[in-house]
């Protein structure tokens, strides 16, 4: 127990350093990007130079980068994450509200993709020997889906939505709710969710399915599986007691990664399908050079990625007795 606690604490410590590094790099890169939020104001004759200079000073943009970085760190500690120039408000509430929408979408999509990919991948791996056509069909289908860009999928779903009226084309809630109670609310939300959900699931499914299949095939090829087969051990038990735990390690790493990309997986799809998540906010912020909003969005994504990886490492640590006894760094 002591050992595992130490392992987690050490990992947390490394993650903190990683996040600091990411924040420094984003500050530096954004600083080098040409233009800033106030440049566009200069074009307008109604805004005097004096006003722009005052705004510059008010937001602290006249100070050197290290000073701004440290005052940003202070604001992070306070929970504000800097100030948005466009909204003239602390960044954190903005980001949090949009993140919740994004997480609703990507969380459902990730859950759905995994629940489909796991059994389907296992089926492909197991069927390879006896009914190879299942595997071939899945191979063809996943290849087709892999080469289809998400953008095309999104446009396709939008087209279907517009022509058939089965789905809502964009948005998250209807302007006037058909029903005021909670159930009607949820139904409305779900009917908006389906479109982007389809795009995300279809986009991520082939990758997951292929990984599950490959991991399972590797595990089924292990000598210890052959050995238990020779001892006459039943097929389901071989599959679930021996092969699946053997295949789990790469899959858990992948799962950590897909948790980590929860915030960033749907950016493009959100913009195209008009889902009020982090995607449109980030796009606007980048176009307007809304410095702290971009940084906060990047940092939140990084936070999720690091968190996902950490979770995967901890799960692996508890799952694999070899890592546990050797105690990796």
């Amino acid at each position: 127990m002591y050992r595992s606690m130490w392992f987690i604490v050490r990992r947390l410590f490394y993650s903190l350093f990683l996040l600091l590094g990411v924040s420094v790099l984003s500050f530096v890169f954004l600083q080098f990007a040409p233009g800033n939020f106030f440049d566009e104001m200069r074009l307008s004759p109604q805004i005097s130079r004096q006003t722009i200079a005052d705004l510059h000073r008010q937001y602290g943009m006249d100070k050197p980068l290290p000073v701004r970085y440290f005052s940003w760190l202070q604001s992070v500690a306070k929970g504000d994450w800097g100030v948005s120039f466009a909204y003239n408000a602390p960044v954190a509430p903005l980001i949090l509200e949009r993140s919740a929408n994004t997480l609703l979408l990507t969380g459902t999509a990730t859950l759905l993709s995994w629940t489909i990919a796991l059994p389907a991948g296992i089926l492909c791996a197991v069927a390879r020997r006896r009914q190879p056509w299942i595997d071939h069909a899945a191979d063809l289908l996943t290849t087709l889906l892999l080469v289809t860009p998400d953008l095309l999928l999104a446009l396709g779903v939008l087209w279907i939505a517009l022509h058939t009226r089965w789905l809502h084309a964009g948005g998250m809630l209807s302007a006037e709710l058909p029903d005021e109670n909670l159930w009607g609310h949820l139904k409305d939300l779900a009917s908006h969710l389906i479109g982007p959900l389809i795009v995300l699931v279809v986009g991520s499914l082939p990758v997951l399915l292929r990984h599950v299949r490959a991991a399972m095939l590797d595990a089924l090829d292990l000598p210890c599986i052959q050995a238990v087969q020779a001892h006459g051990i039943s097929h389901p038990r071989i599959l679930f007691r021996h092969a699946l735990p053997g295949a789990a390690a790469p899959l858990i790493s992948l799962f950590g990664f897909s948790l980590g990309s929860l915030l960033s997986a749907s950016l493009l799809v959100e913009v195209v399908m008009n889902w009020p998540g982090l995607g449109p906010l980030l796009l606007e912020a980048i176009l307007a050079r809304d410095f702290y909003v971009v940084i906060a969005a990047v940092m939140f994504s990084a936070l999720f990625l690091v968190g996902g990886m950490l979770l995967a490492d901890v799960l692996l640590f508890f799952l694999d007795p070899r890592i546990r006894t050797e105690g990796i760094a």
């Binding site: 052959q226 050995a227 020779a230 051990i233 007795p321 070899r322």
Partner: protein, 271 residues
């Protein structure tokens, strides 16, 4: 069952061809077994020697049922395994157990020693949990692994200990035939000797028959009564150990018709 059967295990005219290449590629046929027959008497040891790729392991796989031969049949106590249906095959399969080349790989790294040894019992299920554990423990003790180590994982054992563990797992079902696929590879001489002595002891106490697959003639000659040499899927020499070594000397000096044996032995210079 024919209790009068002279042989505990008999393979008749086994052939197996592997085909490689997909439908758009040219097919490549590899004849791994070509009309192989052999017979094993109770309490005896047959050494199966030959260069790599000569079909030794394929033969072992066919005998334990991991591969299906294209042609031929396998008889256990004079009864064909192919004629049995699946449920009747289960008890028959218990009688033949295989110990693999690579003991480190053949043990599931996530299972403790005791669970590895008791697992076959669980499947062929005929006793309670307590009985299973007790039986597995006695088996471990019998192959020389202390019961204090029952909760250890395979990677915490040495190579020789892992080999013993694999032997215990095979023995726990009380088989009559044990196929040893290169069990001496990767062990140093003293451990090889220990394992060989253990196997000989077990043979005397439990009346086991062994098929010992090896490319090491020295150790094969030590524990086997009969030696069969395989080359390109066929058994080219099949004789008693004594006769074999006499003839081998002869082959060595005349070097006339020794080509198959030579090539079967490869560059092996141990004898």
């Amino acid at each position: 069952m024919h209790p009068s059967s002279e042989f505990v295990l008999e393979a008749r005219c086994l052939s197996k061809t592997y085909t490689q290449g997909r439908w758009w590629q040219r097919k490549f046929h590899c004849r791994a077994l070509d009309n192989v027959s052999l017979a094993l008497r109770p309490g005896r040891t047959l050494a199966l020697v030959g260069a790599s790729g000569s079909g030794k392991t394929t033969l072992a796989m066919c005998i334990v049922g991991l591969e299906n031969p294209d042609v031929g049949e396998i008889l256990l106590n004079g009864m064909s395994l192919r004629s049995l249906n699946k449920s009747a095959q289960m008890p028959a399969r218990r009688e033949i157990q295989l110990i693999f080349q690579d003991s480190a790989g053949a043990l599931n790294p996530r299972m403790s020693a005791i669970h590895i040894v008791e697992e076959p019992l669980l499947i062929h299920g005929q006793c309670s949990r307590v009985e299973r554990l007790e039986f597995a423990l006695t088996m471990m003790e019998q192959v020389g692994i202390s019961s204090n180590w029952m909760d250890r994982l395979p990677h915490e054992f040495s190579g020789g200990q892992r080999q013993r563990l694999a032997i215990a797992r095979a023995l726990v079902l009380k088989p009559r035939v044990l196929i040893l696929d290169e069990v001496f590879v990767g062990l140093d001489l003293s451990i090889q000797g220990q394992i060989a002595n253990l196997l000989l002891d077990l043979q005397q106490t439990a009346g086991l028959s062994y098929i010992c697959i090896s490319h090491n003639l020295a150790i094969a000659g030590q524990i086997a009564d009969t030696i069969a040499v395989m080359d390109q899927g066929r058994i080219v020499v099949h004789s008693s150990t004594e006769e074999f070594f006499n003839r081998w000397q002869h082959f060595n000096t005349t070097s006339l018709s020794s080509a198959p044996v030579r090539s079967a032995m490869g560059a092996h210079s141990g004898v």
